[in-house]
Symmetry: C2
Subunit: 476 residues, 2 copies
């Protein structure tokens, strides 16, 4: 591909994306293909000869696009927001064009320094207290793994890194505490870091599904008495199922007194702390050793871009740093080499898209958009509450509404009610007008409306409510 | 930013990237800024009001670009190739525009199915035997970590995952074997996965810096006699320092007999196996349990895109799978959910750029370009060998030449010779015409010419040789 073809097909793609974002709602939000449908359209082997990019883009539209689930769709209410934006897409484009590997300061000083500054901008926006140092990770899963590794090494005075499991004897296994509502990435991270599933202590939650600090303290006490070694607390600000908020003001002092690493998983909800009226979400965060939140969820930055903060970066570096001759530079004593702040050696120039987004929107527009999502969720909640055939299943502090169909006069048992809701969700999703996903709360199959895509307006939320009620009527 | 502004600034960026790639050599290849220079140009805080994208792009050119080290530069000879291409950049753009999270099949069936097919295309191109299943990871560091986790769980019958370090007693620590030339990511992965630094057994190398199978066998035997638990062998095909090739045909049978996981790190060199004359690189790979190579290094795909193959994906899934209610879909028994094949839950749609690159170039063009890089390295090697003031320090099986200045009649000791070469490299890099990095071989400070950027032609390699000799003359 010469530069003339690059320009030509590049313009075409820019136009295609502009049209796509303007008209995403013309697509079925959830792809309607069956397993194997897309693979059947792709040749078995790579071509020997080069092909024209225009033909490849034609094939994309014909063969690949039907298999795309449209995360940009304004009626995408599944999982969590993954809101995208023009400036972010252009930032990713520029980053790809530069092709920088930001593993070391020297391998692109601007990538490191812009990343550091963007982490400061974000920390100010969400009201983090002074003393936290930020780095961009790919996902909250990776950031939480990094936090667990820091906790492991802090508790063992860096002996686990050096000696592996032997470092523990005669101390008992290292224990991690999180609520029963914590994200699956805590378990995954604990497995990866060698804690073992059985050393994840699931702490009870209160009526709002937030971690119960008294139970946390009791479990730490019991572990110490049993000769086990408390190591890390993971508090969740905005759980995946219901956006429950663990009480940092109560958890923090326990972590300090017990000398445990406190990691705050605010993957979704952290972005909401840019709103003055939501600053309370992070009250108590001054006790934390680390925190993660995802601008790629709810701050209009395309996936991936996860903001990870640690209080003591020397700690992180000591856990992660490997210093072979071939990676050493004359600058190493003067600069930050982010390769030592995470799992991967290679790193993309992700700060560009964050810079583009924060400048293009500005803080006030970002606040207005998040406030609108939260207001829409509150409105949807009120519709559920006001309709006797529907039932609200959790508080709605942010953008996510947990609810179910529970028709007046429904005669079935709990299992039948679960089946009714599962069947409703599958029929709604297959119809392709809206897309929403579920969780299970105390055995109840629960529908989730997660509101936060860039194009979502009030009418889309209204359409979702209409669609749900319409499909529910067809069912009865 | 409305769609009109997106189009306008998108075209501008496409044009900028086209010009940049055409004229990358007009830049200093290594950024000349000092620590803090770029940060000083960025406002301390995020703006309150939105700003025009055109102003932001102006600021990029003025304030950020001077801090970019140009990995696309045709005289970038540092570290390893990270060759980029027009089709790859467009693929990344489209992926950003779609904003898909490919964590589950359902969250974009095309992302999973195209990824599976691209892994098959690549496996065929490099001549992998049947029976390997591929997945795209971000980096080889992550892929090697995944391999170490699989090894850990295979050896402990999945007990480490479940019980942590307790799973080991009464067995001794798990041991990993790799050569003294293996990449730093093996140590990092071993730390993360809880093996501990001391359980990485460094195996001797032969005169070509390839792993010595007799020493490998001896160390395994000694460990078993000492009550330790051999677990994993990491063989390197193309080491970072010198592109040495560990002998898989000899290592593989040891792994099979000893029932150890064999992971092949072919991060750089795997791409060269698309050349029929380099197929020997992967001879013996049929004994491997896993392999990684990086299309983002030497196959014209922009960073990140690492191809990870495992023989038994059920193994990988059993190690990684966490299955909370909120991630379950009705398709889970029919499809592959790649979230269970790696560390991260969220995943970008990376297969698009791979599809664009493999189709746009075609296999024959890719082969021709890699063959040219290898031929240029051979030619550079001959220049070094033919000049009495320079010394070749390692064999050149691929694209990397290890050498040093050693002037006829040089009177200094080894340390002075090292200083001479370090000083030469720093002066060359500061001049900004070429960029190369070093390693240390048997205590000798070694310059490395790594040839493989997309725009690199014979004249750029000639210019590098001229620049090195010129700067060496100024020194003496």
């Amino acid at each position: 591909m010469d530069s003339k073809e690059f320009r030509h097909e590049g313009y075409r793609l820019i136009d295609w994306i502009a049209d796509y974002l303007d008209h995403a709602e013309n697509h079925h939000v959830l792809s309607q293909v069956q397993p194997g449908d897309i693979d059947a359209r792709i040749p078995a082997s790579a071509p020997l000869q080069g092909q024209h990019m225009s033909d490849i883009l034609d094939d994309f539209e014909r063969d690949i696009l039907p298999g795309v689930t449209h995360w940009n769709h304004p009626r995408f209410f599944a999982y969590f927001p993954a809101n995208n934006s023009g400036p972010s897409i252009l930032g990713e484009l520029l980053s790809a064009g530069l092709g920088v590997n930001a593993m070391l300061w020297q391998t692109s000083p601007a990538a490191t320094e812009l990343e550091q500054r963007m982490m400061i901008w974000l920390a100010e926006l969400i009201g983090l207290p002074a003393g936290f140092h930020g780095v961009i990770q790919d996902t909250a899963s990776t950031a939480t793994l990094c936090a667990l590794l820091c906790a492991r090494e802090k508790t063992t005075a860096f002996a686990f890194n050096a000696r592996g499991p032997e470092a523990l004897s005669p101390d008992g296994p290292l224990r991690i505490y999180c609520s029963t509502e914590a994200h699956s990435s805590v378990v995954k991270g604990a497995r990866i870091a060698g804690f073992g599933d059985r050393n994840i202590v699931q702490v009870k939650t209160d009526g709002n599904r937030a971690l119960d600090p008294a139970d946390l303290q009791a479990r730490i006490d019991a572990d110490r008495q049993a000769g086990l070694t408390p190591c890390c607390i993971v508090a969740t600000v905005g759980t995946t199922s219901t956006t429950a908020i663990d009480p940092l003001p109560a958890i923090g002092p326990i972590a300090r007194t017990e000398e445990l690493w406190l990691h705050v998983d605010a993957a979704l909800a952290g972005s909401a702390a840019i709103l003055p009226e939501k600053r309370w979400l992070l009250e108590g965060v001054e006790h934390a050793d680390s925190l993660v939140f995802n601008p790629h969820k709810w701050l209009f930055v395309n996936f991936d871009c996860s903001a990870f903060y640690v209080r003591d970066p020397a700690h992180l570096e000591r856990v992660m740093a490997i210093d072979p001759a071939y990676l050493q530079t004359d600058r190493d004593n003067q600069v930050t080499n982010f390769r030592d702040w995470g799992i991967q050696l290679g790193r993309r120039f992700r700060a560009l898209k964050l810079w583009f987004v924060l400048r293009s929107y500005g803080a006030e527009n970002l606040r207005a958009m998040l406030a609108e999502h939260i207001a829409l969720a509150a409105e949807f909640k009120s519709w559920v509450e006001d309709d006797p055939d529907w039932e609200l299943l959790a508080p709605v502090p942010l953008n996510t509404v947990c609810f179910r169909l529970h028709p007046v006069g429904f005669q079935g048992d709990d299992d039948e009610l679960n089946s009714l809701n599962k069947d409703l969700m599958n029929r709604v999703n297959r119809a392709g007008r809206i897309y929403l996903t579920h969780t299970v709360l105390d055995g109840r199959y629960t529908l989730r409306m997660s509101i936060g895509q860039t194009g979502t307006r009030r009418r889309h939320v209204e359409e979702a409510w209409e669609e749900l009620r319409e499909k529910a009527r067809q069912q009865s």
